[in-house]
């Protein structure tokens, strides 16, 4: 193997310098003594170069898409175009305050309005809001909208249940529960929704069925129209989790499939960077029934002018301060503008082609539990590794030594020792072949090496059990734990 991540022996920032402990804080007139800070914030006083070096070294101990192939299933780790970074930093984008008068922010309003219109076409749903900060935030908002809708219908007392397939992302049941619904999971049949099971499960108690399509097993739910019919037959709503929209751009859309409301992740399908965990940007798109419940403000165009509209009597109100993650919205807009209709269709086709190609090749090493034709991602089972005393986790860690990121592991839970692999459209055949070769080297390595992996990252296998058993969650805890844990 040729990969070696940086391995700086870099102390925590508070060990790099000393805090100004006994210095008097500047006096502020009129401040009551009870509320005056007695001890200055204990944090080191460093030079700018020291700060820059410290965080540059930390960055070198982090793996990103720009470092290597990042086949993390359900996360759509595609290239984050540099031009979108440039545009988001323009003064006209970054140095604009959300509480400026409308007349001075017509550009921002137009960007948001245009993006909403385009996403309406892409989703096939007429009404769009960009307010959610992330996908799960959008799911939650959608569940609040469903709740408000049934309240207005006088049915909230009986519509208490949200159904979801057992392949659903964890955020789905969590969002539904936060919105006050009970949740029930529908068992799958060969990785897809079991239509008969769903028909038996729906009733007047059902408020909503939450579905990801293609689903987290990478399979397109081919019975989607029948699913929509079953859900609508009892008066319930059908919700689209847009995490996997990348695979079907221009082929189908939530509106045509019969969904009433959808969320999208701009940080997946529309290439905005994941930021090491965030920020994301969520999108809410709704049909006629749920559209009036979208958060305020909405953006309206009157003549050539754009303005905020707060006059939506059925709205659920606000989801967060201001209007959404504008910096990400702008990046997504530039991305869509670049690709255009044909480019977006090509995105889906190439992403699906890439994943099917790698699925076919990796199928030689590990079993694929479901039908072979997948969309943007596929699932493997690492169960046979157990015969050699190896687990999926070991394989994932060994892959890191190859200079590629590990797949998503142990999800979906319905597959034993699962690995979920997604290779977006931005990976070339050369990179795909390199990934397959890396996978082969990793899986054919000795159990000893697999257990000892990774060796090329900035630290070796991290003891996550210890982290949970003896939680050390800040520098206070580290100090209290004494020098023994600090330097073993």
């Amino acid at each position: 193997m040729t990969y070696q991540q940086a391995r700086w022996d870099e102390p925590p920032v508070w060990e790099l310098g000393t805090a100004a402990a006994n210095e008097a804080l500047p006096a502020i007139a009129g401040l009551p003594e009870r509320l005056r800070r007695k001890v200055a914030i204990r944090w080191p006083e460093l030079s700018e170069l020291e700060v820059v070096r410290h965080y540059t070294r930390l960055s070198q101990m982090n793996f990103g898409i720009d470092t290597g192939t990042y086949p993390l299933g359900s996360c759509t780790m595609k290239y984050n175009p540099k031009v979108t970074e440039l545009l988001a930093r323009r003064a006209g984008a970054a140095n604009v305050h959300p509480y400026q008068p409308e007349a001075t922010v017509q550009g921002s309003l137009e960007v948001l309005w245009r993006l909403e219109r385009i996403l309406s076409k892409i989703t096939g749903l007429p009404e769009v809001s960009l307010q959610p900060a992330a996908g799960a935030h959008g799911e939650y908002a959608a569940m609040l909208m469903v709740r408000a809708y049934f309240r207005d219908q006088g049915e909230l007392a009986e519509r208490t249940e949200v159904l979801l397939p057992d392949t659903a992302h964890g955020t789905n049941p969590a969002s539904a529960a936060m919105a006050g619904f009970t949740t029930r999971e529908i068992r799958d049949k060969d990785g897809s929704v079991d239509l008969e099971e769903l028909r038996r499960a729906v009733s007047k108690k059902t408020a909503c069925f939450m579905l990801t399509n293609p689903n987290t097993a990478g399979l397109f739910e081919s019975e989607i129209l029948e699913i929509a019919e079953a859900v609508h037959s009892v008066g319930a709503m059908l919700y689209y989790d847009g995490a996997n929209l990348n695979a079907i751009l221009g082929v189908t859309h939530p509106g045509r499939m019969g969904f009433d409301v959808a969320h999208l992740n701009l940080h997946k399908t529309f290439s905005t960077p994941h930021g090491g965990g965030g920020p994301g940007a969520g999108v809410l798109a709704a049909g006629e029934k749920l559209g009036p419940y979208l958060p305020v403000p909405r953006i309206v165009k009157e003549g050539r002018k754009f303005r905020f509209d707060y006059d939506r009597p059925k709205t659920i109100g606000k989801l967060k301060t201001a209007y959404g993650n504008f910096g990400l919205d702008l990046r997504a807009y530039a991305y869509i503008l670049s690709h255009g209709e044909e480019g977006l269709k090509h995105v889906a086709r190439r992403a699906v082609l890439n994943s099917n190609y790698v699925a076919a090749r990796l199928g030689k090493y590990l079993p694929r539990p479901f039908r072979p034709l997948v969309k943007h991602e596929f699932v493997l089972s690492g169960a046979p590794l157990k015969e050699r005393g190896v687990r999926t986790l070991d394989l994932a860690k060994r892959l890191l030594d190859e200079g590629v990121h590990a797949p998503t592991v142990y999800f979906p839970a319905l597959v034993e020792e699962s690995l979920m692999v997604e290779l977006p459209e931005t990976e070339s055949k050369r990179e795909l072949d390199g990934y397959v070769a890396a996978f082969e080297r990793a899986i054919t390595d000795t159990p000893e090496h697999l257990h000892a992996a990774p060796r090329s990252t900035s630290v070796s296998r991290v003891d996550e059990v210890r982290a949970t058993r003896e939680p050390l969650l800040s520098w206070k805890d580290l100090r209290a734990s004494g020098p023994k844990a600090e330097t073993p």
């Binding site: 925590p12 805090a19 804080l25 500047p26 009551p32 005056r36 800070r37 914030i41 006083e45 965080y55 960055s59 101990m61 982090n62 720009d66 595609k78 175009p81 006209g92 984008a93 140095n95 604009v96 305050h97 017509q106 076409k121 992330a134 799960a136 964890g170 529960a177 006050g180 082929v251 189908t252 859309h253 960077p273 090491g276 965030g278 920020p279 707060y310 006059d311 109100g317 606000k318 301060t321 209007y323 910096g327 670049s338 690709h339 209709e341 480019g343 034709l373 860690k397 990121h405 590990a406 055949k429 990774p454 630290v459 070796s460 949970t468 939680p471 969650l473 800040s474 600090e486 073993p488």
Partner: protein, 460 residues
């Protein structure tokens, strides 16, 4: 068209051939005909220079803050961020990474988040911070649900002066589990919370939490907030704190706060028309298993070296599903990086000096505006740092701000709830001091405010 999808001669053909198919159409054979669409209607693709030109054309229709003398304040700040902050945030090892599930390959972000957590712990006087939430308002919403896990009851008390957006977000968070958000009235002269109201409300034993903000929605520092915990007893106290103010204000953990949340945008994050922002959350260690969001913990690697990992994950949605403490998955990690790099670049002394200088300018502005007939500035008789509230006696806030805008002054923002179904409120404006505001800007504002009020008086 951009070169974002690889297109080497023969490349796609080779992939198709390996799969034994002749067209990518075959890969979509499982999408039923009736579910297919024709054109989306997105328009043709463009080359990079065309995209840059088009986006720049749109952005030119904005007038950024630099074109004005700005006095916009509140939770979203417009401060100078040292160039070093964006240089670090722009490192693609950070910004193109996913959530650090694979700890060994992600020590850089994990260590950064651990430092960020440690800083917020130090600033708030609490024990544990999470790795960020979406923004200050949603952090308050999560704090509400957190309090309910700690304490029985169905009523949550918040100041009537809390910004309307936050009250609306809190109402949403409360609605799912059927909880109520009630407002605590304030003294008309000082804006201080009515502690007697809190005492009586909590005596009924059905209050599960109380929230107070320092500075409050009027920009003022409420001297009564440190008294709250002695009234509440074991009812959890949530304090919404402005990070910069904590450079000079007492850590809320030291006066009994059980949770401290806040908006972190002012530390190295551009206003960007309101997003991305940064939600801050800290609590006591004994409550950590009820806390929302990702948390980074320190541990060891297989060789006994210090290492970091996401921890206490059994609280989270991907493990606990409907029983999770929150649905949050994607958070604001990159913004947390900006926060800690900003604070470390400026340093604790620099932060305190900055806060003191903003407070000094705010006093100059307030005393200037205070001399104007028809304007009450500050509206409340209470201490303040960088923000305070003014009230106009003649005309409307919109008219007043519009007249200032014509003189290239952003005179603050209306405190009214803009939703038409909400009853009309007093004509109040929150005025703030952004870092770049000069003495000259302040003189200009005072003169323009005088003229604006005078003009309204004449036209009335």
């Amino acid at each position: 068209m951009p070169r974002w999808i690889p297109d080497e001669p023969g490349e796609e053909a080779a992939l198709l051939e390996a799969l034994g198919i002749s067209s990518t159409d075959e890969l979509f054979a499982d999408v039923p005909k009736r579910a297919r669409i024709g054109r989306m209607g997105v328009g043709p693709g463009r080359d990079e220079p065309e995209v840059v030109a088009e986006v720049d054309r749109l952005l030119e229709r904005n007038r950024p803050l630099s074109k004005f003398s700005s006095f916009l304040g509140g939770r979203i700040a417009s401060r100078y961020s040292p160039a070093a902050v964006d240089a670090i945030v722009s490192r693609s090892e950070f910004y193109t990474a996913y959530t650090p599930y694979q700890a060994e390959a992600s020590q850089g972000m994990l260590r950064t988040l651990f430092e960020f957590q440690s800083l917020w712990v130090e600033m708030t006087g609490l024990d544990v911070a999470n790795a960020s939430l979406y923004d200050g308002a949603t952090a308050a919403g999560e704090a509400l649900l957190f309090c309910r896990r700690l304490h029985e009851g169905h009523r949550f008390l918040v100041p009537a002066s809390l910004p309307w957006e936050e009250r609306s977000v809190l109402a949403n968070y409360a609605s799912g589990p059927g909880l109520q958000v009630e407002t605590i009235p304030y003294d008309d002269r000082t804006g201080r919370l009515d502690l007697e109201f809190v005492r009586q409300a909590t005596a009924r034993k059905d209050v599960f939490g109380v929230l107070a903000d320092v500075p409050n929605g009027f920009g003022h520092v409420d001297e009564g907030v440190p008294e709250l915990k002695s009234i509440l007893g074991d009812v959890p106290l949530v304090v919404v704190a402005d990070p910069l103010s904590l450079s000079v204000l007492e850590a809320p953990g030291n006066y009994g706060a059980d949770v401290v949340v806040g908006e972190g945008q002012g530390f190295g994050i551009s206003p960007s028309f309101g997003g991305p922002l940064l939600g801050l959350f800290a609590c006591r260690k004994e409550h950590v298993r009820s806390a929302p969001g990702r948390i980074v913990g320190a541990t060891l690697d297989a060789d006994g070296r210090r290492a970091y990992a996401l921890t206490l994950v059994t609280r989270e949605q991907h493990i606990r599903r409907s029983k999770a403490t929150s649905n949050i998955c994607t958070n604001e990690s990159l913004m947390a990086l900006a926060f800690v790099v900003y604070a470390t670049s400026v340093g604790p002394r620099g932060l305190a000096r900055l806060q003191a200088s903003l407070a000094e300018k705010a006093r100059t502005l307030a005393s200037g505006l205070g001399t104007i007939d028809g304007l009450k500035a500050p509206r409340f008789d209470a201490p303040y740092l960088a923000d305070f509230t003014i009230e106009i006696a003649r005309g409307t806030v919109d008219e007043f701000l519009d007249r200032l805008r014509r003189r290239k002054i952003l005179g603050g923002h209306s405190l009214k709830d803009p939703r038409p179904e909400v009853p009309s409120e007093a004509e109040r404006i929150l005025v703030g001091i952004p870092e770049m505001t000069s003495e000259k800007d302040i003189t200009k504002y005072v003169r323009a405010a005088q003229a604006a009020i005078g003009a309204v008086g004449r036209s009335a």
